[in-house]
Subunit: 222 residues, 4 copies
């Protein structure tokens, strides 16, 4: 039973070194954890279920993770960049097209991972987790902030743009996308959302100027 996966000639090259085997199990557990957490919620998922779903014994779970919580933390770390929204590049492309494409892709990734549905309640009771999430958001905020800053310095934005508040607003919009999807039932209207963000950042005249210039090179983003 344990040998099924390496029915190989005696003496042949071990296809899968010991550590890699362990890695495989760890990853199976992570994958199973991710799936079940999203499906049933963190508290409703038992360590036993995760192990079963991953095809290992209950005890094995505890060899790789101190507890359920630690598995979740590992999941977060591993998918750190997935949780990060893309860094918009405001002035090299038609901003509306570009944003719409970026958001569509980000939304797809988020939805595939699904972890964002698990975090909200946990954050309120797990300070360490809360800290991780907060740090992540701050990085995102910083990225958007810096992008906006450069753009502002180029004189492309509203004069009175509050970089900080706009950054949070953009994050808020990005985070709401999955929920808008779930609650309205329709696919989010990414171009419209992009338009909204652009309206927040660029005065109409600057925006149409940007759009004209970048129009051709943007075709690839659609």
């Amino acid at each position: 039973m344990t040998e099924k996966d390496d029915g190989q000639l005696v003496g042949s090259f071990p296809i899968m070194p010991k550590q890699a085997r362990a890695q495989q199990k760890r990853e199976a557990l992570l994958r199973s954890g991710s799936i079940l957490f999203v499906e049933k919620g963190f508290d409703q998922t038992t360590a036993k279920e995760i192990a079963l779903h991953a095809g290992v014994a209950t005890g094995t779970f505890y060899r790789y993770f101190a507890d359920k919580r630690q598995l979740l933390m590992s999941l977060l770390e591993e998918n750190f960049d997935l949780l990060m929204p893309p860094k918009p590049d405001w002035d090299n492309v038609n901003p509306e097209f570009f944003l719409a494409a970026l958001m569509k892709e980000h939304f797809g990734k988020m939805n595939r991972l699904g972890l964002h549905r698990v975090l909200p309640e946990l954050v309120s009771r797990d300070p360490e987790l809360a800290e991780v999430v907060r740090r992540t958001k701050r990085i995102i905020h910083k990225q958007i902030y810096n992008g906006l800053k450069t753009t502002k310095e180029h004189g492309l934005t509203w004069d009175d743009l509050s970089l900080d508040t706009i950054s949070w607003t953009i994050i808020a919009l990005l985070e709401k996308i999955p929920e808008m999807h779930a609650e309205s039932g329709k696919e989010p209207d990414f171009p419209e959302i992009a338009k909204i963000i652009c309206r927040l950042v660029f005065p109409p005249d600057k925006l149409s100027q940007l759009k004209k210039i970048r129009e051709m090179s943007d075709k690839k983003w659609i």
Copy 2:
């Protein structure tokens, strides 16, 4: 605690009619449930704890609520209007002042209740709860939508305003306010958020026109 309810003259009315007593317990349980759900999360709060916190016996909890979930539902029903953001009245006042004031008030209420922090994960596994939340959001959306529609018909908004997406965006912003608060650490900058919403709705010229006209009558809102 036991003395609060009979600071009255000797010989006056019966201290507290029977039903009022029961109501008091029910409400104590609701209050305790609300506090503990927000503090520790729904799943981490036990019925026993709620009872203890409310100063009644475990069994008493079950006289008033079938279970924890039902207590939560009652909390939601009872605070239904708190969850509703205010209906903005776009063209009778300086929109920015007005919105800032409304949001500040709403934010205060939401924060005091705190339930919004409990719902997200629950919604994903409790279809009935999900339905309640969905219905609430649809009403909110409708209200904002209708307000915007009237404003648009008055020719005050951007010509290309997508009423639906803007409505969702405003909801997203309102809902994010508590989190912005928690995550940034600072008090949300309501005037700035109001400005953002106004920028989404009104072209600059229409907005300054609105602001000038309403400036005086708005003093009362500050």
Copy 3:
């Protein structure tokens, strides 16, 4: 509400003296207890349910009975004679007709009361109840025994009749009647059972002799 049952002229003769009122409640409780014990089993019936069914408050239950068990004991005492099978009068009537009629009546009473279905498990854990039941059975046994003894002394029975064992056998048969009913689905065949008992007691020649003599006077028993 409490006055509904004596809507009488002021000053008129109180139809129901105080004690009788109490008696009424006591009896309502006994009746409700009996019904519910038989319907759902002793342990599955709560004091609250009995009170509700009897139309009184929970607390009132405990004014009339120390606890559920005591109510059961009262039920037994009150229906003591119902539990007693009839004393057969072997030689004044056609024994088969007579027995069949007696059993039919007894079976009807037992079934209406139904308590026999509640006792078995209780007896094994309640020594006092066990003693009551045992005493009852001993009296029954004695009655049957004495009847048989007289009959034997008249030379009407088998010579080798073991009075004791036959008495228990008759009791066994009587007690099994409700179960035979429930399990076979059919109405018990009382004449057949009577025939069996008679065959155990009387040799064929003595029996036909008895039957012939009593034939006419028995018509009334059918």
Copy 4:
């Protein structure tokens, strides 16, 4: 207790294979359940107590049985044949000797198991259990019925024998034996009960004929 299972030579087989261990626990739980159910009644016995009595933790109980009820069902299934009274073989042996011996053995088994004391009240509220018991009784009835039928066809019984009622009567007697024991305090008089059954089945002349023929071969049954 822990030593019973390895009275073996050092160096021999592994003491107890894994599955056997589990079986041991399962059986310990069954045994403890049986004992406690009989001692205190089904409802008065808690899963915790059974586990404690079996020397395992509460949770272990639930690894082997879904609940108390299922343990009882397993007990019944496992002892199905114990509950079945022996199939009498009417015409190959002295019927009285044979029956007495059979009943004595059956009585011993029943008494050791004791479950018959638990079933009566449960049956009235557990339809599945009721069905199991009913099925069992029907099989027993059928067996006795068929035996009697053959005997009747051989012309050995009373001409007017009602096979059905006699079968139920015999079952009633068999089932009452433990109670007769408990209530009279004396050891049941098996030979007398056997005589009673024989008197119900065989006319005196046929019986003495049967007894004479089989007298010698029966010695072994005593």
